[in-house]
Symmetry: C2
Subunit: 228 residues, 2 copies
């Protein structure tokens, strides 16, 4: 977590962003104890902004708080991971469907941007740059929602996706994403170019559920992050 806080903005939002990013990146691993006074002194604010930030994180099921006992970073629940996969694949298939069935004036231009993102994604993959790969991965999937005319829906996906991200960060500590991920990205873009809704939807469904196939291995390596 960074230490400098913007003076003009609301501290509550700043604390929320800091904690959210820290949990997402596993800097605060599942099970970490979060004491409100400790966080407050550590971030140089009072307990009030910390509490409001935690309340928002509780709504996203990123932290669990037991009254008069303590608050901890939530464990990675496989049920929530599966739900997140379902939500993500359903929404993205819906976006792809809309992108294909009603191509507007901006369709070709936005499709060009999507191709650029795919190229960058491919380049980071070949270079073995995990951070760059994930950044372009995010942008690529987000672009599908832009093409579907539902750009704001990406915020919902991003909010739900955090449980997947924690799992992926664990996975990526050992190995870069498999080549299948790269192939699927290419297939999604190609399906959009061909206006092929059916194969595009199939690819997205496979792509989104890939992480579940690897989950058993990850759980075996980091059992302390999963509930007993």
């Amino acid at each position: 977590m960074s230490e400098a806080r913007p003076p003009g903005n609301r501290m509550s939002d700043w604390v929320y962003t800091e904690l959210s990013e820290a949990i997402r990146s596993l800097e605060l691993p599942p099970g970490t104890k979060l004491s409100e006074p400790s966080l407050a002194t550590r971030l140089a604010v009072s307990r009030v902004p910390v509490r409001e930030a935690i309340a928002r994180l509780v709504d996203q099921r990123l932290v669990t708080v037991t009254p008069q006992v303590g608050t901890r970073v939530a464990p990675i629940l496989m049920s929530e991971v599966e739900n997140a996969c379902f939500i993500r694949s359903s929404l993205e298939t819906g976006a792809l469907r809309q992108a294909i069935t009603r191509p507007g004036a901006d369709f070709d231009r936005e499709l060009g941007e999507l191709r650029d993102i795919l190229a960058a994604n491919h380049a980071f993959f070949d270079a073995g740059d995990a951070d760059g790969f994930f950044a372009t991965d995010e942008r690529l999937h987000q672009a599908v929602f832009v093409l579907g005319g539902v750009a704001e829906v990406w915020d919902v996906v991003r909010g739900v996706k955090v449980h997947l991200d924690r799992l992926r960060h664990l996975h990526l500590r050992h190995a870069m994403a498999s080549g299948a991920v790269m192939d699927e990205h290419t297939q999604i873009v190609e399906a959009l170019e061909r206006r092929d809704a059916k194969s595009g939807e199939d690819v997205i469904r496979r792509h989104a559920h890939q992480i579940i196939a690897d989950s058993d291995q990850i759980r075996a390596e980091y059992p302390e992050y999963f509930p007993a």
Copy 2:
């Protein structure tokens, strides 16, 4: 809003539920000014639980708060209504797809429950009971997610659906839902019985976007609830 508050539970949650229901049911119409001190005295609590409840409502975009100016019940943004329709239809079609492609042991039993709900829904419709109709409407759509094995995803739908609900409450002040809604409910159940994914998905998409078709009329009747 009811007045009695449970003593044991957290007041913050109670305040949140009260405000959420009040906004959902248009008891607090869009644009209503919400003063933290007023709400606090009215609910016989301090400002802290009120603030935490409001923070949660801001995340759901149900209220807008401008620092040092005031907080108001959010207007009904058509962009959010359309996003909600998209999310709802995408998730429900996904659930229907899963319900059909992997029928488990409980499938027949849960399908029977779905039939019962449909029958009750039909009865309320014939009797002109709007409240009963909507209650069974909710249960019917929720049942689709149960059949799809993603029961918890309904919570996401419920959270997003609130913008649709406000619009529907406006619509229903004048007329009961059209017969088309009832027919579509029947068609959804029939598609599940026939394991017909394609027609089921089409019906759900039509059903979810029906409200948008009526939106112009509603906006003309209640312009003060929509942004300028």
